[in-house]
Symmetry: C2
Subunit: 189 residues, 2 copies
Protein backbone atom coordinates (compact mmCIF):
# COMPACT_ATOMS: atom_id res chain seq x y z
CA UNK A 1 0.00 0.00 0.00
CA UNK A 2 1.57 3.29 -1.05
CA UNK A 3 0.94 6.77 0.22
CA UNK A 4 -2.13 8.37 -1.31
CA UNK A 5 -1.30 11.64 -3.10
CA UNK A 6 -4.68 12.93 -4.25
CA UNK A 7 -8.29 13.12 -3.18
CA UNK A 8 -11.16 12.84 -5.61
CA UNK A 9 -14.74 13.57 -4.63
CA UNK A 10 -17.48 12.96 -7.18
CA UNK A 11 -21.09 14.00 -7.14
CA UNK A 12 -23.44 11.05 -7.71
CA UNK A 13 -24.39 10.02 -11.24
CA UNK A 14 -27.96 11.34 -10.86
CA UNK A 15 -26.81 14.94 -10.36
CA UNK A 16 -26.43 16.01 -14.02
CA UNK A 17 -30.05 15.00 -14.68
CA UNK A 18 -31.14 16.88 -11.57
CA UNK A 19 -29.28 19.99 -12.72
CA UNK A 20 -30.78 19.77 -16.19
CA UNK A 21 -34.25 20.12 -14.69
CA UNK A 22 -33.44 23.22 -12.61
CA UNK A 23 -34.87 26.58 -13.65
CA UNK A 24 -32.27 29.07 -14.89
CA UNK A 25 -32.75 31.23 -11.79
CA UNK A 26 -33.90 30.63 -8.23
CA UNK A 27 -35.30 33.92 -7.09
CA UNK A 28 -36.70 33.50 -3.59
CA UNK A 29 -35.18 31.95 -0.45
CA UNK A 30 -37.92 29.34 -0.60
CA UNK A 31 -37.13 28.35 -4.21
CA UNK A 32 -33.46 28.03 -3.28
CA UNK A 33 -34.23 25.96 -0.20
CA UNK A 34 -36.59 23.72 -2.15
CA UNK A 35 -33.62 22.76 -4.35
CA UNK A 36 -31.39 22.05 -1.32
CA UNK A 37 -34.13 19.85 0.16
CA UNK A 38 -34.65 18.08 -3.17
CA UNK A 39 -30.91 17.35 -3.35
CA UNK A 40 -31.05 15.82 0.14
CA UNK A 41 -34.11 13.76 -0.78
CA UNK A 42 -32.60 12.55 -4.04
CA UNK A 43 -29.37 11.62 -2.27
CA UNK A 44 -31.28 9.39 0.12
CA UNK A 45 -33.56 7.97 -2.60
CA UNK A 46 -30.51 7.05 -4.71
CA UNK A 47 -28.55 5.63 -1.78
CA UNK A 48 -25.69 8.00 -2.60
CA UNK A 49 -25.08 9.51 0.84
CA UNK A 50 -26.64 11.17 3.85
CA UNK A 51 -29.76 13.37 3.93
CA UNK A 52 -28.10 16.71 3.31
CA UNK A 53 -28.03 18.98 0.24
CA UNK A 54 -26.52 22.38 -0.46
CA UNK A 55 -25.98 24.81 -3.31
CA UNK A 56 -24.18 28.04 -4.06
CA UNK A 57 -26.22 30.66 -5.91
CA UNK A 58 -25.68 34.21 -7.04
CA UNK A 59 -27.53 36.24 -4.42
CA UNK A 60 -28.80 38.74 -6.95
CA UNK A 61 -29.45 36.69 -10.09
CA UNK A 62 -30.39 33.40 -8.44
CA UNK A 63 -28.18 31.52 -10.86
CA UNK A 64 -26.87 28.23 -9.49
CA UNK A 65 -23.07 27.92 -9.46
CA UNK A 66 -22.65 24.55 -7.82
CA UNK A 67 -24.50 21.93 -5.83
CA UNK A 68 -23.38 19.45 -3.19
CA UNK A 69 -24.71 16.46 -1.33
CA UNK A 70 -23.36 14.50 1.61
CA UNK A 71 -20.88 11.91 0.35
CA UNK A 72 -19.26 10.84 3.64
CA UNK A 73 -19.87 7.11 3.41
CA UNK A 74 -19.61 6.53 -0.38
CA UNK A 75 -16.45 8.65 -0.65
CA UNK A 76 -14.88 7.33 2.58
CA UNK A 77 -14.34 10.95 3.59
CA UNK A 78 -15.66 12.41 6.83
CA UNK A 79 -15.30 15.96 5.48
CA UNK A 80 -17.47 15.32 2.41
CA UNK A 81 -20.44 17.26 3.76
CA UNK A 82 -22.85 18.87 1.29
CA UNK A 83 -21.73 22.40 2.19
CA UNK A 84 -18.00 21.68 1.80
CA UNK A 85 -18.64 20.05 -1.58
CA UNK A 86 -20.86 22.86 -2.89
CA UNK A 87 -18.42 25.55 -1.74
CA UNK A 88 -15.40 23.69 -3.18
CA UNK A 89 -17.12 23.11 -6.52
CA UNK A 90 -18.15 26.78 -6.75
CA UNK A 91 -14.57 27.85 -6.02
CA UNK A 92 -13.25 25.45 -8.62
CA UNK A 93 -15.75 26.77 -11.17
CA UNK A 94 -14.68 30.35 -10.52
CA UNK A 95 -10.98 29.44 -10.31
CA UNK A 96 -10.62 31.15 -6.96
CA UNK A 97 -10.23 30.03 -3.34
CA UNK A 98 -12.59 32.84 -2.38
CA UNK A 99 -16.17 33.40 -3.48
CA UNK A 100 -16.00 37.06 -2.38
CA UNK A 101 -15.57 39.82 -4.94
CA UNK A 102 -16.48 37.73 -7.95
CA UNK A 103 -17.88 39.16 -11.22
CA UNK A 104 -21.16 37.50 -10.22
CA UNK A 105 -21.55 39.67 -7.13
CA UNK A 106 -22.17 38.21 -3.68
CA UNK A 107 -22.79 34.48 -3.47
CA UNK A 108 -25.07 32.59 -1.12
CA UNK A 109 -24.71 29.16 0.46
CA UNK A 110 -28.05 27.39 0.75
CA UNK A 111 -28.09 24.30 2.95
CA UNK A 112 -30.88 21.92 3.85
CA UNK A 113 -29.70 21.86 7.48
CA UNK A 114 -27.80 24.26 9.73
CA UNK A 115 -24.07 23.66 9.33
CA UNK A 116 -22.16 21.42 11.73
CA UNK A 117 -19.15 22.84 13.56
CA UNK A 118 -16.81 21.96 10.67
CA UNK A 119 -18.97 23.50 7.94
CA UNK A 120 -19.65 26.52 10.13
CA UNK A 121 -15.90 27.01 10.44
CA UNK A 122 -15.54 26.67 6.67
CA UNK A 123 -18.07 29.40 5.86
CA UNK A 124 -15.92 32.46 6.69
CA UNK A 125 -13.00 31.03 4.65
CA UNK A 126 -15.26 30.42 1.64
CA UNK A 127 -16.08 34.02 0.81
CA UNK A 128 -19.86 33.62 0.65
CA UNK A 129 -21.87 36.68 1.60
CA UNK A 130 -24.87 34.93 3.08
CA UNK A 131 -26.21 31.59 4.27
CA UNK A 132 -29.74 30.15 4.10
CA UNK A 133 -30.48 27.16 6.33
CA UNK A 134 -33.50 24.86 6.40
CA UNK A 135 -33.60 22.40 9.29
CA UNK A 136 -32.12 23.56 12.57
CA UNK A 137 -29.51 22.04 14.86
CA UNK A 138 -32.37 20.88 17.09
CA UNK A 139 -33.99 19.10 14.12
CA UNK A 140 -30.71 17.35 13.27
CA UNK A 141 -29.98 16.40 16.85
CA UNK A 142 -33.52 15.19 17.46
CA UNK A 143 -32.91 12.34 15.01
CA UNK A 144 -29.43 11.65 16.37
CA UNK A 145 -27.05 13.64 14.17
CA UNK A 146 -24.15 15.29 15.99
CA UNK A 147 -23.58 18.91 14.97
CA UNK A 148 -20.43 19.28 17.06
CA UNK A 149 -19.41 22.16 19.32
CA UNK A 150 -20.98 25.30 17.90
CA UNK A 151 -21.22 28.60 19.76
CA UNK A 152 -24.81 29.50 20.52
CA UNK A 153 -23.90 32.89 19.04
CA UNK A 154 -22.86 31.45 15.66
CA UNK A 155 -25.26 33.63 13.68
CA UNK A 156 -23.93 36.80 15.30
CA UNK A 157 -20.34 35.62 14.75
CA UNK A 158 -20.99 35.21 11.04
CA UNK A 159 -22.82 38.53 10.91
CA UNK A 160 -19.83 40.25 12.53
CA UNK A 161 -17.83 38.99 9.55
CA UNK A 162 -20.42 40.46 7.18
CA UNK A 163 -22.12 37.13 6.42
CA UNK A 164 -25.90 37.27 6.73
CA UNK A 165 -27.74 34.18 7.99
CA UNK A 166 -31.37 33.14 7.64
CA UNK A 167 -32.33 29.89 9.25
CA UNK A 168 -35.53 27.87 9.41
CA UNK A 169 -36.37 28.49 5.72
CA UNK A 170 -38.92 25.75 4.85
CA UNK A 171 -37.89 24.27 8.17
CA UNK A 172 -40.63 21.67 8.39
CA UNK A 173 -40.00 20.24 4.93
CA UNK A 174 -36.26 20.23 5.59
CA UNK A 175 -36.65 18.49 8.95
CA UNK A 176 -38.94 15.87 7.42
CA UNK A 177 -36.11 14.67 5.16
CA UNK A 178 -34.01 13.97 8.26
CA UNK A 179 -36.88 12.28 10.06
CA UNK A 180 -37.72 10.03 7.10
CA UNK A 181 -34.05 9.10 6.74
CA UNK A 182 -33.77 8.20 10.42
CA UNK A 183 -37.01 6.19 10.34
CA UNK A 184 -35.65 4.34 7.29
CA UNK A 185 -32.65 3.19 9.34
CA UNK A 186 -30.06 5.35 7.57
CA UNK A 187 -26.61 5.66 9.13
CA UNK A 188 -26.47 8.49 11.66
CA UNK A 189 -23.15 10.28 12.22
Amino acid sequence: MTHPLSIQLHLPAWVPGFLARLPSALDSPEERMRVAISLAEANVANGSGGPFGALVVSTESGRVLAVGVNRVEPACCSSAHAEIIALSLAQQRLGSASLANTPLGPLELVTSCEPCAMCLGAIPWSGVGSVLCGATKADAESVGFDEGERSEHWIQHLQQRGIMVHTGVLRQAAAEVLQRYARGGGAIY
Copy 2:
Protein backbone atom coordinates in the same frame (compact mmCIF):
# COMPACT_ATOMS: atom_id res chain seq x y z
CA MET B 1 -19.30 26.90 -18.39
CA THR B 2 -20.89 23.72 -17.12
CA HIS B 3 -21.56 22.59 -13.61
CA PRO B 4 -18.54 21.04 -11.95
CA LEU B 5 -19.17 17.48 -10.79
CA SER B 6 -15.97 16.49 -9.05
CA ILE B 7 -13.23 17.90 -6.86
CA GLN B 8 -9.61 16.84 -7.16
CA LEU B 9 -7.00 17.82 -4.64
CA HIS B 10 -3.39 16.85 -5.30
CA LEU B 11 -0.40 16.94 -3.01
CA PRO B 12 2.51 18.84 -4.56
CA ALA B 13 5.02 17.06 -6.79
CA TRP B 14 7.77 17.23 -4.13
CA VAL B 15 5.80 15.09 -1.64
CA PRO B 16 6.78 11.60 -2.91
CA GLY B 17 10.47 12.49 -2.54
CA PHE B 18 9.77 13.83 0.95
CA LEU B 19 7.95 10.64 1.91
CA ALA B 20 10.76 8.47 0.55
CA ARG B 21 13.17 10.09 3.02
CA LEU B 22 10.98 9.52 6.09
CA PRO B 23 12.00 6.90 8.65
CA SER B 24 9.70 3.89 8.80
CA ALA B 25 8.41 4.93 12.23
CA LEU B 26 8.10 8.21 14.11
CA ASP B 27 8.22 7.26 17.74
CA SER B 28 8.13 10.42 19.82
CA PRO B 29 5.79 13.42 19.69
CA GLU B 30 8.80 15.53 18.76
CA GLU B 31 9.77 13.30 15.83
CA ARG B 32 6.19 13.44 14.56
CA MET B 33 6.03 17.21 14.94
CA ARG B 34 9.38 17.65 13.21
CA VAL B 35 7.83 16.01 10.12
CA ALA B 36 4.76 18.27 10.26
CA ILE B 37 7.02 21.33 10.51
CA SER B 38 9.21 20.05 7.66
CA LEU B 39 6.11 19.63 5.50
CA ALA B 40 5.11 23.23 6.23
CA GLU B 41 8.63 24.47 5.46
CA ALA B 42 8.86 22.49 2.24
CA ASN B 43 5.44 23.75 1.14
CA VAL B 44 6.62 27.34 1.50
CA ALA B 45 10.03 26.66 -0.06
CA ASN B 46 8.39 25.05 -3.08
CA GLY B 47 5.73 27.74 -3.43
CA SER B 48 3.05 25.07 -3.24
CA GLY B 49 0.79 26.57 -0.58
CA GLY B 50 0.61 28.09 2.89
CA PRO B 51 2.90 27.36 5.84
CA PHE B 52 1.01 24.45 7.35
CA GLY B 53 1.75 20.71 7.41
CA ALA B 54 0.00 17.73 8.96
CA LEU B 55 0.20 13.96 9.07
CA VAL B 56 -1.75 11.00 10.35
CA VAL B 57 0.30 8.36 12.18
CA SER B 58 -0.43 5.17 14.04
CA THR B 59 -0.27 6.22 17.67
CA GLU B 60 1.40 2.99 18.75
CA SER B 61 3.69 2.07 15.86
CA GLY B 62 4.50 5.58 14.64
CA ARG B 63 3.90 4.52 11.04
CA VAL B 64 2.83 7.36 8.77
CA LEU B 65 -0.49 6.81 7.01
CA ALA B 66 -0.86 10.08 5.15
CA VAL B 67 0.49 13.60 5.00
CA GLY B 68 -1.09 16.91 4.07
CA VAL B 69 -0.04 20.46 3.34
CA ASN B 70 -2.06 23.62 2.86
CA ARG B 71 -3.24 23.82 -0.77
CA VAL B 72 -5.81 26.63 -0.50
CA GLU B 73 -4.42 28.94 -3.17
CA PRO B 74 -2.99 26.41 -5.69
CA ALA B 75 -6.11 24.24 -5.54
CA CYS B 76 -8.57 27.18 -5.47
CA CYS B 77 -10.17 25.54 -2.46
CA SER B 78 -10.62 27.31 0.87
CA SER B 79 -11.12 23.97 2.67
CA ALA B 80 -7.80 22.53 1.47
CA HIS B 81 -6.11 22.90 4.84
CA ALA B 82 -3.27 20.53 5.75
CA GLU B 83 -5.33 18.75 8.39
CA ILE B 84 -8.35 18.15 6.13
CA ILE B 85 -6.07 16.78 3.40
CA ALA B 86 -4.13 14.48 5.73
CA LEU B 87 -7.32 13.14 7.34
CA SER B 88 -9.04 12.63 3.97
CA LEU B 89 -6.02 10.83 2.48
CA ALA B 90 -5.74 8.57 5.53
CA GLN B 91 -9.45 7.71 5.25
CA GLN B 92 -9.06 7.02 1.55
CA ARG B 93 -6.07 4.79 2.24
CA LEU B 94 -8.01 2.78 4.83
CA GLY B 95 -11.20 2.77 2.74
CA SER B 96 -13.25 4.14 5.61
CA ALA B 97 -14.84 7.47 6.50
CA SER B 98 -13.70 6.88 10.08
CA LEU B 99 -10.19 6.42 11.40
CA ALA B 100 -11.52 4.91 14.62
CA ASN B 101 -11.41 1.15 15.18
CA THR B 102 -8.94 0.38 12.41
CA PRO B 103 -6.66 -2.67 12.35
CA LEU B 104 -3.80 -0.21 12.97
CA GLY B 105 -5.15 0.83 16.38
CA PRO B 106 -5.73 4.44 17.35
CA LEU B 107 -4.51 7.07 14.92
CA GLU B 108 -3.07 10.50 15.66
CA LEU B 109 -3.34 13.77 13.78
CA VAL B 110 -0.13 15.78 13.97
CA THR B 111 -0.39 19.38 12.81
CA SER B 112 2.22 22.13 12.67
CA CYS B 113 -0.31 24.64 14.03
CA GLU B 114 -3.41 24.42 16.21
CA PRO B 115 -6.45 23.75 14.02
CA CYS B 116 -8.68 26.58 12.82
CA ALA B 117 -12.39 26.44 13.60
CA MET B 118 -13.10 24.37 10.48
CA CYS B 119 -10.38 21.79 11.10
CA LEU B 120 -11.29 21.66 14.77
CA GLY B 121 -14.85 20.84 13.75
CA ALA B 122 -13.54 18.15 11.39
CA ILE B 123 -11.51 16.31 14.05
CA PRO B 124 -14.40 14.57 15.89
CA TRP B 125 -15.84 13.37 12.56
CA SER B 126 -12.49 11.95 11.44
CA GLY B 127 -12.14 9.23 14.06
CA VAL B 128 -8.62 10.12 15.21
CA GLY B 129 -7.86 9.30 18.83
CA SER B 130 -5.43 12.12 19.53
CA VAL B 131 -4.06 15.38 18.17
CA LEU B 132 -0.56 16.87 18.47
CA CYS B 133 -0.22 20.58 17.71
CA GLY B 134 2.91 22.71 17.26
CA ALA B 135 2.31 26.44 16.96
CA THR B 136 -0.59 27.87 18.95
CA LYS B 137 -3.55 30.01 17.92
CA ALA B 138 -1.67 32.98 19.41
CA ASP B 139 1.34 32.22 17.19
CA ALA B 140 -0.87 32.03 14.08
CA GLU B 141 -2.80 35.16 14.96
CA SER B 142 0.36 37.11 15.82
CA VAL B 143 1.38 36.94 12.15
CA GLY B 144 -2.13 37.69 10.91
CA PHE B 145 -3.76 34.31 10.29
CA ASP B 146 -7.41 34.05 11.27
CA GLU B 147 -8.22 30.89 13.22
CA GLY B 148 -11.96 31.58 13.29
CA GLU B 149 -14.38 31.23 16.20
CA ARG B 150 -13.04 28.52 18.49
CA SER B 151 -14.23 27.87 22.01
CA GLU B 152 -11.53 28.58 24.55
CA HIS B 153 -12.43 25.14 25.94
CA TRP B 154 -11.68 23.32 22.67
CA ILE B 155 -9.17 20.95 24.24
CA GLN B 156 -11.64 19.89 26.93
CA HIS B 157 -14.39 19.49 24.29
CA LEU B 158 -12.21 17.10 22.31
CA GLN B 159 -11.19 15.27 25.47
CA GLN B 160 -14.86 14.82 26.37
CA ARG B 161 -15.15 12.98 23.05
CA GLY B 162 -12.19 10.79 23.97
CA ILE B 163 -9.70 12.67 21.79
CA MET B 164 -6.48 13.57 23.61
CA VAL B 165 -4.75 16.83 22.69
CA HIS B 166 -1.16 17.96 23.23
CA THR B 167 -0.32 21.43 22.03
CA GLY B 168 2.88 23.45 21.92
CA VAL B 169 5.01 20.48 20.80
CA LEU B 170 8.20 22.07 19.34
CA ARG B 171 6.22 25.28 19.55
CA GLN B 172 9.08 27.64 18.85
CA ALA B 173 10.22 25.83 15.70
CA ALA B 174 6.62 25.59 14.50
CA ALA B 175 5.95 29.27 15.13
CA GLU B 176 9.13 30.25 13.30
CA VAL B 177 7.79 28.75 10.07
CA LEU B 178 4.79 31.07 10.30
CA GLN B 179 6.95 34.07 11.15
CA ARG B 180 9.38 33.47 8.27
CA TYR B 181 6.45 33.03 5.87
CA ALA B 182 4.87 36.30 7.01
CA ARG B 183 8.19 38.16 6.79
CA GLY B 184 8.60 36.79 3.27
CA GLY B 185 5.33 38.43 2.26
CA GLY B 186 3.32 35.22 1.87
CA ALA B 187 -0.46 35.51 1.50
CA ILE B 188 -2.20 35.58 4.89
CA TYR B 189 -5.73 34.19 5.16
